[in-house]
């Protein structure tokens, strides 16, 4: 149809929204007054464009007059009657218009639980017709942050709303590290005949971002390393030697810790808590080498991103517990870190991140690691083999780093284990008495042959790691870090 009519006007007080509207239009022809109100229950609507397919001055009018003239000229009743068709068409189109006062409330809610990278986040958008006329055809699309991928549902909906009624739709995005803001929702409202259409953008109340920034808030990862008795004593109750407190028996408590004397006296099952003893010195070895910066799917963060987040959470946790935790980072270039950091082997080394300078240095390293982890490594398709060549690290690099490890400190290696390099470090550390623990986020998916092969090779490395490390925690791609941390806290794998 070539006779589409456009009359549009951007709201005077909005900036840059008028790009789609034609300037110089007769302002009086715009009938929609986008409601701009201080009430929080309504979204601010901005008219971007309005199209009226059949305007009052349509070509159809000419057709109608032509038929009428012809009918009268030949005194033919059928032709005169036929002239009514274009007239009725134009007349009805003039009746079918959008309400003058469109009023719509768009509200967005996001899972408010604490998010870690890779968590699926459900976003629910509800749309309420706060005006007094029926909206027969309302189409809406939510502005999803560019960095976040929609994995389930759709951020689009087509709704019909009676006055006062609400409809909602939801979709799922995958959280990434950082704070990602949503934009304004885009709407298209059509009249019943579809002859009058307006494109609007609407501010959205409620949640305006997906926030996943604070690894310090993540609990439980400190339990990953083996608890070694006799080194330091914490204020937490648990296994140990010195009496701490008693509490009600819970199923799963060790029989040796049940206070049988009290049971004989009163019949109550009570568990004795001892002052928990654990190693006071930890080393966290973070692996974000370029090989690790690939993901299980385009929608998910890279293995390095998971590792960087988990390592930061672990260091934070140890530091809060008053442990002497040191940090080693593989794959972070010293030039990328804001402040000068000591290098040991080919890793960055931060001794005792518990002190003020140490904390400062560790924060700088983590910030640089998070940046490099998010920069994905593109696969080299020029290879003539199915798998990448695995290069063993230089012995000198390993000894250079391991020589820095404090005595009797426990090593937590956080690595996606895409090659055997972390195992070389683990083996060397195990030899000199730094009991290694491996926490490995899985960057593979068994969706296709390539993913299967890499998953299989990683599985083989994990088996090897179980022979070297005190504990190996495999972190499947579909599980969130918070779930893994909770499992670690409970003592599971």
């Amino acid at each position: 149809m070539s006779d589409a009519t456009q009359r549009s006007r951007a709201e005077q007080d909005t900036t840059d929204q008028s790009t789609l509207s034609q300037s110089g239009d007769d302002a009086t022809t715009t009938e929609i007054e986008a409601s701009r109100t201080a009430e929080s229950t309504r979204s601010t609507l901005t008219l971007r464009r309005r199209i009226r397919r059949i305007g009052p001055w349509s070509i159809w009018l000419v057709g109608g007059f032509f038929l009428l003239g012809l009918g009268l000229f030949y005194a033919e009743a059928t032709l005169v009657a036929a002239a009514a068709i274009p007239f009725v068409y134009v007349g009805y189109a003039a009746l079918s218009t959008l309400p003058r006062n469109l009023s719509i409330d768009v509200n967005r809610s996001v899972d408010d639980r604490r998010l870690t990278p890779g968590d699926p986040v459900e976003v629910t958008v509800s749309v309420t017709n706060t005006g007094d006329s029926v909206l027969t055809d309302l189409r809406i699309v939510d502005a999803v942050p560019e960095e976040l991928a929609v994995t389930a549902g759709s951020p689009r909906a087509s709704l019909a709303l009676r006055p006062g009624s609400t409809a909602s739709f939801s979709y799922t995005v995958i959280a990434k590290r950082g704070d990602f803001a949503f934009g304004d929702a885009r709407l298209v409202v059509r009249s019943l005949l579809g002859t009058d259409t307006a494109t609007l953008s609407a501010t959205v109340s409620g949640a305006d971002s997906v926030n996943c920034t604070d690894p310090a808030a993540l609990d439980g990862l400190h339990q990953a390393t083996k608890l070694r008795t006799g080194v330091t004593q914490s204020d937490q109750g648990g296994e140990g030697l010195e009496f701490h407190s008693t509490r009600e028996y819970r199923s799963g408590d060790a029989q040796t810790r049940v206070n049988w004397r009290q049971y004989a006296k009163t019949g109550d099952l009570v568990t004795t808590e001892f002052r928990q003893e654990r190693a006071a010195r930890e080393i966290v070895l973070l692996d974000v080498r370029p090989e690790t910066r690939c993901s299980s799917a385009v929608t998910h963060p890279t293995g390095a991103e998971y590792a960087a987040y988990a390592a930061e959470a672990a260091v934070e946790r140890y530091r809060r517990l008053g442990h002497r935790v040191s940090l080693a980072a593989l794959g972070v270039d010293a030039d990328d870190v804001e402040i000068p950091i000591r290098e040991a082997g080919n890793a960055l080394w931060v001794e005792n991140a518990g002190t003020e300078t140490g904390q400062h240095a560790a924060d700088a390293v983590f910030s640089a690691a998070a940046d490099v982890a998010a920069s994905r490594t593109t696969a080299n398709t020029a290879l003539t083999s199915l798998v990448e060549n695995e290069s063993e690290p230089h012995r000198r690099d390993i000894s250079g780093l391991v020589a820095q490890f404090p005595e009797r400190a426990e090593l937590l290696i956080v690595s996606p284990l895409v090659d055997r390099t972390p195992l070389s470090y683990a083996k060397r550390a195990a030899v000199i008495g730094n009991a290694p623990t491996l926490l490995s986020p899985d960057p593979t998916a068994e969706e296709n042959a390539g993913g299967q092969l890499h998953s299989a090779r990683r599985e083989i490395r994990l088996r090897e790691a179980r022979g070297v490390c005190e504990r190996v925690i495999d972190w499947p791609a579909e599980r969130s870090l918070s779930a893994v941390a909770a499992a670690v806290d409970r003592g599971g794998r």
Partner: protein, 221 residues
């Protein structure tokens, strides 16, 4: 809605209904509008006095004039042909899209290599990679490298005939697979690779189970 707007809509509705009524009468019950026809008779008589050509010119001229007026009004009010309104224009980013290079997904290069296989020979050049992985899997299950190699040579590591035959020289590839290879080399090459990768993946998750199968001792010649 303002009173004026209501009035306008009311008038428009009434005139539309009247128009429809008149048309219905004209078509179905012409006798109802006979009085109107009678009123028209003097006009028709007057019109009949003119020449047909003259009359036709007047009619065409009137319609052309109306068309001109409508066209001028459309032009003046800035009306132009517009496409359908769209939520997301063609040149805009789709809200549910991801701006991530698929080449950064683990295994991309391997998939490309498998898809690039065009003959059985192409597929065979990757056999050593898979054999090494299978040996490493068996080693992780506690087998010595020599025994693991022999096991793969003899195909005693998987239930999959195609994978066993493809990676093991001492085992024949099933007849049907050979026939398929003769018909379509490229497809069969890819098929053997994918089946072998599947088998190696299964082996990696449970190498102990595969190690239960007995193998023949190496005979010194």
């Amino acid at each position: 809605m303002s009173v004026l707007g209501l009035l306008r809509r009311g008038l428009l509705t009434l005139s539309l209904l009247a128009l429809l009524g008149a048309v219905a009468a004209l078509l179905l019950a012409p006798e109802l509008i006979a009085p109107a026809e009678d009123a028209m008779t003097p006009i028709y008589d007057q019109v009949a006095e003119y020449e047909t050509d003259q009359l036709l010119n007047t009619a065409v001229g009137t319609i052309a004039l109306i068309a001109l007026i409508v066209g001028a009004i459309r032009k003046l009010s800035g009306i132009s042909g517009e496409a359908d309104p769209v939520l997301v224009a063609d040149d805009e980013r789709l809200p549910e899209s991801v701006s991530v290079d698929p080449a950064t997904v683990t295994g991309y290069a391997t998939n490309e290599a498998v898809n690039g296989v065009e003959s059985l020979d192409d597929a065979r050049q990757y056999r050593n990679d898979l054999r090494e992985t299978a040996v490493a899997a068996l080693q992780a299950g506690g087998e010595s490298p020599e025994v693991a190699r022999r096991r793969i040579e003899q195909g005693a590591w998987t239930d999959d005939d195609i994978a066993a035959g493809f990676l093991g020289d001492a085992v024949p590839v099933p007849l049907l697979a050979r026939l398929r290879g003769w018909l379509d080399e490229a497809a069969e090459g890819r098929r053997r690779l994918v089946r072998s990768i599947n088998a190696v993946a299964t082996l990696a998750t449970a190498p102990d189970a595969a190690a239960q199968t007995p193998i023949e001792e190496e005979t010194d010649e």
